[in-house]
């Protein structure tokens, strides 16, 4: 029997044995064990090292408040740092390793810090490491950074999946101890939709750890029976292994369910954890209370733990933490601990009770008015030194010490809306304040009601109050002992270090130093000493720390106040918060109608928002992207090219005021547009900056189709709805997006018409379908379609649209029927080349910082009508003569390369901000001009056409002489597009 500390009883399944390792050493445990209970059963007390001084540490608790027994679980991509051994459920094959130690847990070289600790007092680093100046980043900080941190992160991808979900209920009950179970029974029997969530894998809370009876039944059995009854109610959802992490606005709670953490690996397809968003009509916080230590010298040795943890290990897990045990207490819990352990056959050698008077505990050495003032033992407790009332000190050999300084209600979630807890002197602890999250009630120990009876009663009453219930179940009999606690925060005797925050190594002396240096606000105390900032967020340390500060400053505890708790209640895996949105599934894909065709061709795709657009379509033998793009451009300008432009936003605008509405939202006029025609529209924001552009066609008297840029499709639609509903609510305008309803292709080039005529059923000769014409047509023998004669490339061009399902087929049909014209399909790169050759603005120019005037489109802003942005576009700073103007740029030496983002400088000017003339917004290689060309915003650029300047890219060390030219670099007269 390797489990030398295993005693009888407990809620573990002794019929099955689980094998696990800790630091490579094999051990055995049972189902129902946590890693900590199993290690303790095997006589292992040393489980970790502290953050700063690398002090040897063992668990002080049996729950999620644990600051010390923090380990790395599993290996490889599943390596999980900073896992609390006290809540890690044992499974067969579990691998755990200690962390923050070198070379081993027992012999940690960094333990030297402990010897030097006097130099490492709170905040010492703020006062030194400043000389010489350069040494901080080169020497001091790297050493500090290497030494800091707890567990280590694997660099491998987490192989497990995470999921999210949404739940709805009338009542969410947080915690399934006696309070939560009674609340659930009350609400469940009333037929309400209830969610009962508990972070433990076994419901029952402290009932599983105590020996109290409820009625005639042992508490743990009562809890099990209660859970069994609740499980039969269809209106109740029992969620074990589920931690409610936060209370958010309006009754929304976050909860993390650990679906697979108790398994070696998740079952195929199943998530490791699920983040639930719970919409709760009401909620009851029944999260119980956390026992708090007392600070005394060397109170951190493995073997020293909370008295309630000693009971829990004995009663729930059948583990005697030590063979000779003492208890140090300031309240009746210490007494109870001694009795429980004695009943289990453990040798309780003394109860050190800081209180005076009262009954003496029979059969145990009960030292009243006494304190533990020191302990010894190298890697675990071997003895304690006790100071009695008469001042005499005595050393007692023990291997475990239970400490109880009273219980802190778990108010955390109640303060997530920044409600401050209030001090209740009767239990020497903070209880929830008056203004918590609306709809959240607190019951049981979380509200400061510490007896089992009070837990059951307040749990029931909270359910009645929350749901306004008429009837309720009877309360079973249960103990109703009063809280008898006499506050003792720290032992004043002793010169050594008494630990307040065990993980962060904050001592009573550190608190005193903070006081001495005037860091007396609780927030200053926290920030200066790091008290309460460890992975346990001060669950066992905060109250002691502030109570000590209160004493030092002569203020009361309420005057001193407390810091507040923030979500999450316990730390949450990043994976759970992200759910499935990672890797390729970070955002959904949007595929164009020609996607499948393009994929067959081996096209290269580019992300444009969530769209995948064809960037270029390589042909056999093309080894470099420019070959493909140049070919696409040349072929289009020579004959005909086709481009999928479905991603452009399309908005159907109808109503008798549609034209007037467009006049408001566009800077130029649309109400005068003839039916069957389209027009380029410029849309401003109210601040006069260009928002978006596109062509809008009048398809009928009261019907327009607006086109937006791909990037702004959603925001333009939102803006139009704002204008329609909020600014001009009496206009008769209806809007609907048709972006995805139509597959739309640009067909451009001298042979565009000839090709299209083979598709379109109607006559589209120049006379029948002139430049800027638009209309409903049919294609391929009767399929409804739309045709717009518009051009972004400067060529004779059309955009043709069919219902999306026919898009793929239309493209193939155009390529097949137009084969005689050698049509090519071009992607966004070639599209960019052709639009820049023509000086059309797009993303680089529509940067949210530029006006119509900057773009050379100032005349488009009509002053004859009110439109969004018209007035503010005329502000003095935006109409300066020497402001930025859009220009074309080409290098003087045609071989020279340009880079978008390069800045303009006059010849001979130093590259400093005062000489900065502007920048290149977009750059391409123009196969027609045989050189790089670019668009740019140049100060006073309209007056600099024909001049020579320099373009510099200081990031790449480039300095190039260029000629400033008109943005219309190709076919400036526009003869081709009217062809």
């Amino acid at each position: 029997m390797s489990q030398s500390n295993r005693i009888t009883g407990g809620q573990i399944d002794r019929t099955k044995t689980l094998r696990f390792t800790f630091d490579g050493i094999p051990y055995q445990g049972h189902p129902g064990d946590t890693l900590a209970s199993a290690l303790l059963a095997n006589g292992v007390r040393l489980m970790g090292r502290s953050f700063k001084y690398h002090r040897p540490r063992g668990p002080i608790s049996s729950g999620s408040e644990e600051p010390n027994a923090i380990v790395e679980l599993r290996t490889g991509g599943r390596q999980e740092p900073n896992t609390r051994a006290t809540v890690a459920e044992l499974f067969d094959g579990l691998t755990a390793n200690s962390q923050n130690r070198w070379p081993s847990l027992r012999f940690d070289a960094m333990g030297i810090n402990d010897k030097l600790s006097t130099f490492f007092a709170a905040g010492f680093y703020y006062k030194t490491f400043m000389w010489p100046k350069s040494f901080w980043e080169k020497l001091y900080e790297p050493i500090i950074r290497r030494a800091a941190g707890l567990g280590s992160v694997t660099r491998e991808e987490d192989p497990d999946d995470y999921d999210k979900g949404f739940l709805h209920c009338d009542l969410l009950i947080i915690g399934a101890g006696p309070t939560g179970l009674m609340a659930a029974l009350t609400a469940g029997r009333a037929g309400k939709r209830v969610i009962l969530a508990d972070e433990d894998f076994r419901m029952g809370g402290r009932l599983n750890a105590e020996t109290y009876a409820i009625g005639n039944t042992p508490g743990a059995d009562w809890a099990a029976a209660m859970v069994a009854e609740l499980a039969t109610m269809p209106n109740l959802r029992l969620m074990t292994r589920t931690t409610v992490i936060g209370a958010f606005d309006h009754g929304i709670y976050g909860a993390v369910e650990r679906v697979s953490d108790h398994l070696p690996t998740p079952a195929k397809g199943k998530p490791r954890q699920v983040l639930w968003r719970i919409y709760a009509g009401k909620a009851i916080l029944a999260g119980g209370a956390t026992e708090r230590p007392i600070a005394f010298e060397n109170n951190d040795r493995p073997g020293i733990m909370m008295a309630g943890a000693l009971r829990a290990y004995a009663n729930r897990w059948g583990v005697a933490v030590g063979q000779r045990v003492a208890v140090f207490t300031n309240n009746d819990d210490g007494i109870r601990t001694a009795l429980d352990l004695k009943a289990k056959g453990v040798d309780v050698v003394a109860v050190i009770d800081s209180r005076q008077g009262g009954d003496l505990l029979p059969g145990v050495r009960h030292l009243q008015g006494a304190e533990v003032i020191d302990t010894s033992g190298k890697l675990g407790l071997s003895s304690i030194t006790v100071r009695q009332t008469n001042g005499r000190s005595e050393t007692i050999a023990v291997d475990a010490l239970g400490v109880s300084g009273g219980w802190n209600p778990n108010v955390n979630i109640h303060s997530h809306h920044r409600s401050r807890p209030v001090y209740d002197a009767s239990i020497a602890a903070f209880v929830p304040g008056p203004e918590g999250p609306p709809g959240l009630l607190v019951a049981g120990a979380a509200a400061g009601h510490m007896s089992t009876h009070a837990a059951l009663k307040t749990g029931r009453d909270a359910a009645i109050a929350a749901l306004d219930l008429g009837s309720a179940p009877d309360l079973p009999q249960a103990e109703d002992a009063p809280v008898r606690v006499s506050p003792l925060w720290y032992v004043h005797h002793g010169k050594g270090r008494a630990w307040v925050d065990q993980q962060n190594d904050v001592t009573v002396k550190d608190v005193k130093l903070a006081k001495q240096e005037n860091f007396t606000s609780v927030e200053h105390l926290k920030r200066y000493t790091t008290l309460g900032m460890a992975t346990d967020q001060g669950k066992t340390s905060n109250v002691i720390g502030l109570a000590i500060m209160a004493e030092l400053t002569g203020r009361s505890i309420p005057e001193t106040g407390t810091t507040i708790y923030r979500p999450p209640y316990t730390p949450v895996a990043m994976g759970a918060l992200a759910g499935r949105s990672r890797g390729k599934e970070f955002k959904p894909f949007r595929l164009t109608p020609s996607h499948h065709w393009a994929k067959e061709q081996g096209a290269i795709f580019v992300e444009v928002g969530n769209w995948l657009r064809t960037q270029w379509v390589p042909k056999a033998g093309e080894t470099e992207w420019r070959q493909s793009v140049d070919r696409e451009v040349l072929a289009t300008r020579k004959s005909v090219g086709i481009c999928d432009v479905t991603t452009l936003g399309k908005i159907d605008i109808q109503g008798t005021d549609a034209g007037a509405f467009l006049d408001k939202v566009y800077a130029n006029t649309f109400s005068t547009l003839a039916v069957g025609k389209c027009r380029y529209g410029l849309m401003l924001r109210e601040d006069g900056i260009v928002f978006d552009d596109g062509t809008t066609a009048r398809m009928g008297e009261n019907e327009y189709v607006m086109t937006t840029t791909t990037a702004n499709a959603v925001t333009v639609f939102r803006h139009l709805e704002f204008c329609r509903q909020c600014l001009w609510p009496e206009m008769d305008v209806q809007l609907i997006s048709t972006t995805e309803a139509w597959a739309q292709f640009s067909v451009a080039g001298p042979n565009a018409r000839k090709l299209l005529q083979k598709i379109v059923d109607q006559d589209i000769s120049d006379a029948a379908f002139p430049y800027m014409g638009a209309g409903n047509i049919t294609v391929c023998g009767g399929l409804r379609a739309r045709l717009f004669r518009i051009s972004f490339s400067g060529e004779l061009a059309y955009e043709i649209a069919v219902p999306t399902r026919y898009g793929d087929s239309l493209l193939r049909e155009m390529l097949a029927r137009g084969a005689e014209f050698d049509p090519i399909v071009y992607g966004t790169e070639a599209l960019g080349v052709m639009r820049i050759e023509k000086g059309h603005v797009a993303g680089g120019e529509l940067n949210g910082q530029s006006t119509a005037l900057n773009m050379g489109l100032g005349k488009m802003v009509s002053k004859k009508k009110d439109s969004i942005g018209m007035v503010l576009s005329q502000r003095e700073g935006m109409v300066q003569d020497n402001g930025y103007r859009l220009v074309g740029v080409k290098p003087v030496n045609p071989q020279a390369k340009l880079t978008a983002g390069s800045h303009f400088l006059e010849k001979g000017a130093a590259p400093v901000a005062a000489n900065d003339g502007g920048w290149l917004t977009s750059k391409v290689y123009s196969p027609h001009l045989g050189c790089d060309i670019a668009l740019g915003y140049l100060k006073g650029g309209d007056k600099k056409i024909g001049q020579r300047m320099r373009i510099v890219n200081l990031l790449a060390g480039l300095d190039t002489e260029v000629e400033i030219i008109s943005p219309q670099m190709f076919d400036p007269e526009g003869e081709r597009l009217r062809g």
Partner: protein, 416 residues
């Protein structure tokens, strides 16, 4: 008391009995030459530089809570000067230079650490914008480098390079960017100001302003009336509330920005990184926690707490970029009130009330600005003219159409 390694050793050997209070707790005087409202980073820095650089005296800082309790105590500690626009870049570069000499200047180790910041690039358009920005930075005397995908991969090989929805194509790096121990900044300035005779008055909330004939006379506080010749307001998220005492409406909205820290981890990330395809930025503190954040929640709020959707959004960005952090645990979230301005840029300006000065609108860029903001505000208050790096931060710039809109989002504060 001067701090030094020697001092630390000497104190350690004598039981730390000699350490003195880092600041006094003075009783407010009846009148001061200068009152700074707001004992956060900017207010404390202003007082410090007023005393130290501009040789002014009779200065008080009034703080409604505790010193350093505003956004200087709840930010993600990043410093950088990688701005684009002329109105901003000289100012932030000035600030970065002040950071570089700060600790020696105020004899307090705020752990200014220039381990570099990279902004990841995922599209050609982002590379073009990064090129424009990098050039602007260099022209203003700052440092910038454009990294290739391979160079980024060398720095952080475990980022998502192979299965990313939006592949990493490179990064704009500012090697001089980095982080600072934020609380220590407040304490260092507070200590330096206190040593120069500035009265730092905590738990003193301003409840009104006394203005006569268009001139400030003093302020009403929860600790009584205090007279002043000049009053400077540097109250971050409370700007609208405080300036309302002077009858002013501001081009500012208050929004909540959440920030996050993970449990302590052994070194993973050396510098600062921002994800260009999602809302996520991250660094690792000297204590080992990953400190990260993302977008503001997006609605007006003074609640200093946020909601789940943004927490999830930020985590999604983090996991998309760093698939190895799935099992790293988020330890704590918190929210601060951001003075979101109408163009994303701040104000350091006089007001229509003579002797009343305003400093605010820092959005979520206020921490990195702390030294220059204090210096320039002190300059403005002492000399009644703006510092040369802060001439654009005027309240009337929207009237004139001189916005400093780095993001190009227009007059919508929650988008900056």
């Amino acid at each position: 008391m001067r701090y030094s390694g020697f001092r630390v050793i000497a104190e350690a050997l004598t039981g730390h009995k000699g350490w003195k209070p880092v600041w006094r707790d003075p009783t407010p005087q009846a009148e001061y030459d200068y009152i700074i409202i707001g004992g956060g980073g900017h207010g404390l820095a202003t007082a410090y530089y007023l005393a130290k650089e501009f040789k002014q005296s009779r200065i008080a800082v009034l703080e409604k809570g505790y010193l350093g309790g505003g956004n200087v105590g709840r930010n993600t500690t990043i410093i950088r000067s990688n701005y684009l626009l002329d109105g901003n870049e000289p100012f932030y570069e000035f600030s970065l230079k002040l950071w570089e000499g700060l600790e020696q200047d105020f004899n307090y180790n705020a752990m200014v650490s220039q381990r570099g910041i990279i902004n990841l690039i995922h599209t050609d358009a982002q590379r073009d914008a990064a090129t424009r920005r990098g050039n602007a930075m260099i022209m203003h005397g700052a440092d910038a480098r454009l990294l290739s995908r391979d160079e980024v991969r060398q720095m952080y090989p475990w980022l998502n390079f192979d299965n990313a929805r939006f592949p990493i194509k490179g990064a704009l790096m500012q090697p001089r960017g980095g982080t600072v121990r934020h609380d220590a900044v407040a304490w260092g300035y507070a200590r330096g100001a206190d040593q120069r005779g500035v009265d730092l008055i905590q738990n003193c909330e301003v409840t009104g302003m006394r203005i006569e004939n268009g001139r400030i006379k003093g302020v009403e506080t929860t600790r009584g009336y205090i007279g002043a010749k000049k009053v400077g307001v540097a109250v971050a998220g409370s700007s609208s509330k405080v300036m309302a005492h002077a009858g002013m409406r501001l081009p500012i909205e208050s929004h909540v920005l959440q920030a996050f820290v993970s449990e302590g981890l052994k070194p993973l990330i050396d510098g600062v990184m921002t994800f260009g395809a999602g809302h996520f930025y991250v660094s690792q503190s000297d204590k080992g926690g990953l400190v990260f954040g993302g977008d503001i929640d997006g609605y007006n709020s003074y609640a200093q707490r946020g909601n789940l959707p943004v927490i999830e959004d930020v985590a999604e960005g983090g996991m998309a970029l760093m698939p190895a952090i799935g099992r790293v645990r988020l330890l704590r979230t918190w929210g601060g009130i951001m003075d979101m301005s109408m163009d994303g840029s701040p104000f350091i300006d006089k007001t229509h009330v003579e002797g009343l000065y305003f400093n605010g609108g820092w959005c979520y860029g206020g921490f990195k600005a702390t030294p220059a903001s204090g210096w320039c505000f002190a300059h403005l208050m002492a000399k009644d003219e703006p510092h040369k790096t802060a001439t654009a931060y005027r309240l009337d710039r929207f009237r004139k159409g001189l916005m400093i809109d780095e993001k190009g989002q227009g007059a919508q504060p929650n988008l900056h």
